[in-house]
């Protein structure tokens, strides 16, 4: 992990053009200069040049980032605020400790994994060879990383099997570590990462993730592992996806781009392609589909007011589409969207596209 000081040139490169104000969801809600990347870089530059000290007040400002990378895509100078702010949080955590609420969340996530581990019967230990598909050159063995809120695991298994793949879900995975990483708790992140890597058999060719945040956590693992990790939509989009005859899904669906999918893993066309292939579906685009849902891991707990405001603005865009169903690919986003819709007094099913596919297959 790079230290704050390693970024001093990057930080200095901010020309203060202020364009990030157009996209930072936090700024759009608070209207405060301290909450947009330009302000944060000014503060961090102040710390580096000695004008400011990394104190608790600044710790609070560092919290005011969803890590959504919207500003990174937009910044003319090409500076990655999210990465730099996380490095600053790590430095802050070294000095003052990890935010206790976040710590609690990290512990809870591990607990969930622990509970599930003990009760899990899902895992099958034998790999099966499957039809080798275009683009696969190696062993053809697929491991699936379900993540803490693996609401889609069953659907993933169904969908992969229907498409001729067999999946293996190793036992003993821990949380992907994203929550720890964003809290600046690098020690925990490293521990979780090492455990997860140790569960992956040597000859695995692909490590599939469905949850966007888990997927981008795996991208932060060492390169030899990261290059095996691939998002399930990207994986499936390359194949000739199986569509059962006569099955129909007669609903209007809109897709929310998770930050960790669209910007971190550059996967945004693929899930749409898959949805559009499903017979019966009417696909509608919402306005600003890539705008953050506001949940951002523990942010919705530590900064609930701002988080809810961001979620509501997302929910407004969803409601305007008049879609029956919101599809997305991240467990965190499901929370954000649900909180936003609830905040506006609406309820809509929020599912992942994989679940829609599984439902389609269930009609057979």
């Amino acid at each position: 992990m790079k230290k704050l000081r390693d970024y001093s040139e990057e930080i200095y490169k901010c020309t203060k053009c202020g364009l990030c104000q157009a996209v930072c969801p936090i700024f759009l809600e608070t209207g405060l200069e301290t909450s947009v990347s330009r302000g944060k870089f000014t503060i961090l530059n102040g710390i580096i040049n000695g004008h400011l000290k990394l104190n608790k007040k600044i710790g609070k400002y560092l919290e005011m980032c969803l890590g959504c990378r919207a500003c990174f895509d937009f910044c003319p100078a090409g500076i990655n605020a999210e990465e730099i702010i996380y490095a600053a949080r790590a430095e802050y955590a070294e000095k003052y400790g990890v935010n206790p609420i976040k710590k609690l969340a990290i512990v809870t996530l591990n607990l969930i994994q622990g509970l599930r581990r003990s009760g899990s019967k899902r895992s099958s230990h034998s790999f099966m060879r499957f039809r080798v598909k275009p683009g696969m050159t190696g062993s053809g063995k697929i491991a699936y990383f379900p993540g803490c809120f693996d609401t889609s695991a069953k659907a993933v298994k169904t969908v992969l099997e229907k498409n001729g793949y067999d999946v293996y879900i190793p036992k003993g995975f821990s949380c992907c570590g994203m929550a720890a990483r964003s809290a600046g708790d690098i020690n925990t992140f490293n521990k979780l990462m090492q455990n997860n890597i140790s569960k992956i058999p040597e000859d695995t060719e692909f490590i599939l993730t469905e949850c966007a945040s888990c997927g981008s956590a795996w991208q932060d693992y060492p390169e030899n592992i990261a290059k095996k990790a691939i998002n399930i939509y990207k994986f499936l989009d390359k194949t000739d996806i199986y569509i059962p005859e006569n099955a129909k899904y007669n609903k209007t669906v809109t897709w929310h781009d998770p930050c960790h999918l669209a910007r971190f893993q550059k996967v945004s066309g693929e899930p749409r392609n898959i949805l559009k292939k499903i017979p019966g579906i009417k696909f509608v685009e919402m306005e600003e589909p890539g705008k953050c849902c506001g949940a951002a891991g523990t942010f919705c707990i530590t900064n609930s007011k701002v988080s809810l405001a961001v979620s509501k603005s997302k929910a407004k865009n969803i409601i305007s589409t008049k879609a029956d169903i919101v599809a997305t690919g991240c467990s965190g986003c499901k929370i954000g969207i649900a909180q936003g819709l609830a905040g506006l007094g609406k309820i809509k099913p929020i599912v992942s596209s994989i679940e829609i596919l599984a439902e389609l297959y269930s009609q057979e």
Binding site: E9, K13, K16, E33, T34, T42, L52
Partner: protein, 454 residues
């Protein structure tokens, strides 16, 4: 401070050092100079602003208004401390009146938001500073900002019908009116437009709109020299064509853009013109044909014309990437904004290049050639004291060059604090005196944005 808290509520007054540290700058590259305000206030209504100004005036506390803080002339720097009024919470569109072709908005709303809202009703607000996604209506009126469309549509000043503004003593005035024409007394609306926060705080604006053109087409014409590009522009004017945009980028700019985004610009060409034609469908086709013909006759090597929105967006993306690309070369970008008579553009470009060479500075030249408004973007590192010093000398010579070509200091970015030292050169003595007396008629105690413009 207590009295300010009473007016706007505790959470809308920021006094911590860290907060103030984030309001000590705008988009101007100022190196390590630091001007901290004493506090930052986030008002939500005109009445609050009126009370704030009254209190500040009684206590002679400077007031610096801030929109999006994207101006490039130090307009938002609290040179003398005091209060920064950040208008980010006054960001509503009050109404859009299609019948009368106008809309009423609060000052903190962004230019883009206004454009999007009126477009939903097939209306068009043309002023288009490249910063329009964030720059506010208040800020763009205060700077009378322009953009590529200025050639055909003019700049912000041509679209302000009426203003509500607060004077330093707290009085709320309304200038102009709802009518398309108005010659009742002096034109205070235009006086406040471009006043850079030194005369009054603009709290509401009535903007003039026009019907949205049916069609737009973007063309990219490449030339082997800037002179040839300039001749093509003259050719178009003679042929009676008014493209909505007549923008120029030089070779250095194109090469810099291509380094960071592959947009397919002809990096072997000396100059490229970005042209946009708009209007009714048939008329756009005809204009485009004529533009292509003229450009070819006058030596254009290659002309790319957009066939659909996506291709138009690509060309625009290339043009709007220019500033960003320059900012990736070196950490600081200083954009100059001198304007010369249209036919002097090639001379001005030559001067810019000569001066940049003389002081060993990297410069990318782009700008609104149709308006004679050329932006040399100097890319440098202000921490290098020698380079910073060389830039200062270059800027001095640049202004002299613009003035001697019959031009002036600033086409659209304004004067602010950064260009103040050059005002004496650009204006005659009586004009300057008049401006000073206008300032003191509005603001006798000099509390509004002191140290700027005059």
């Amino acid at each position: 401070m207590e009295s300010f808290r009473k007016i706007v509520g505790k959470s809308n007054v920021l006094t911590e050092y860290e907060d103030r540290y984030c309001y000590a700058y705008d988009a101007t590259a100022i190196g390590d100079r630091l001007y901290l305000p004493d506090a930052v206030i986030l008002p939500e209504t005109t009445e609050q602003i009126s009370k704030i100004l009254k209190t500040a005036n009684e206590n002679k506390i400077p007031i610096v208004v801030r929109g999006a803080g994207t101006n490039l002339v130090g307009g938002c720097l609290p040179l003398k401390g005091g209060m920064v009024l950040h208008l980010s919470k006054m960001n509503k569109i009050i109404n859009v009146d299609k019948n009368n072709l106008q809309c009423v908005v609060q000052p903190g709303v962004t230019v883009e938001k206004v454009q999007q809202e009126v477009q939903k009703r097939d209306l068009f607000y043309p002023p288009d500073p490249a910063s329009l996604r964030v720059s506010t209506i208040g800020g763009s009126i205060a700077q009378s900002s322009g953009g590529p469309r200025g050639f055909k549509y003019g700049t912000t000043k041509d679209y302000v019908l009426a203003l509500e503004a607060v004077l330093p003593d707290g009085a709320i005035i309304k200038t102009g009116g709802k009518t398309a024409k108005n010659v009742t007394g002096y034109n205070l609306t235009q006086l406040l437009t471009g006043s850079e926060g030194t005369l009054a705080v603009i709290t509401e604006a009535t903007l003039r709109l026009i019907p949205e053109p049916e069609e737009r087409k973007v063309l990219l014409a490449c030339f082997e020299s800037i002179e040839m590009a300039a001749e093509a522009v003259t050719g178009m004017i003679y042929a009676g064509i008014t493209p909505s945009t007549l923008d120029l980028m030089d070779k250095n700019t194109m090469q810099t853009i291509e380094k960071f985004h592959k947009t397919g610009l002809p990096t072997d060409m000396e100059a490229v013109l970005v042209l946009e034609a708009d209007g009714f469908k048939e008329s756009v086709e005809k204009q485009a044909e004529q533009i292509i013909k003229i450009c070819k006759e006058l030596g254009a090597k290659n002309i790319r014309s957009s066939q659909n929105q996506q291709e138009a967006d690509e060309i625009w993306f290339a043009r709007r990437s220019a500033f960003g690309a320059v900012s990736r070369l070196r950490p600081n970008v200083l954009t100059e904004d001198a304007v010369v008579p249209r036919d002097k553009v090639p001379d001005m470009v030559k001067e810019i290049r000569r001066i940049a060479d003389k002081y060993s500075l990297t410069v990318c030249i782009m700008g609104h050639i149709g308006d004679g408004n050329i932006h040399p973007n100097f890319s440098l590192d202000l921490r290098d004291k020698d380079e910073a010093e060389r830039f200062k000398k270059a800027a001095d010579e640049l202004f002299d060059a613009a003035l001697s070509l019959g031009g002036t200091l600033s086409g659209e970015h304004g004067i602010g604090a950064e260009k103040l030292p050059y005002m004496k050169k650009a204006l005659d003595k009586r004009s300057l005196e008049l401006m000073k007396s206008i300032k003191s008629a509005f603001d006798p105690d000099n509390i509004l944005n002191p140290g700027k413009v005059v």
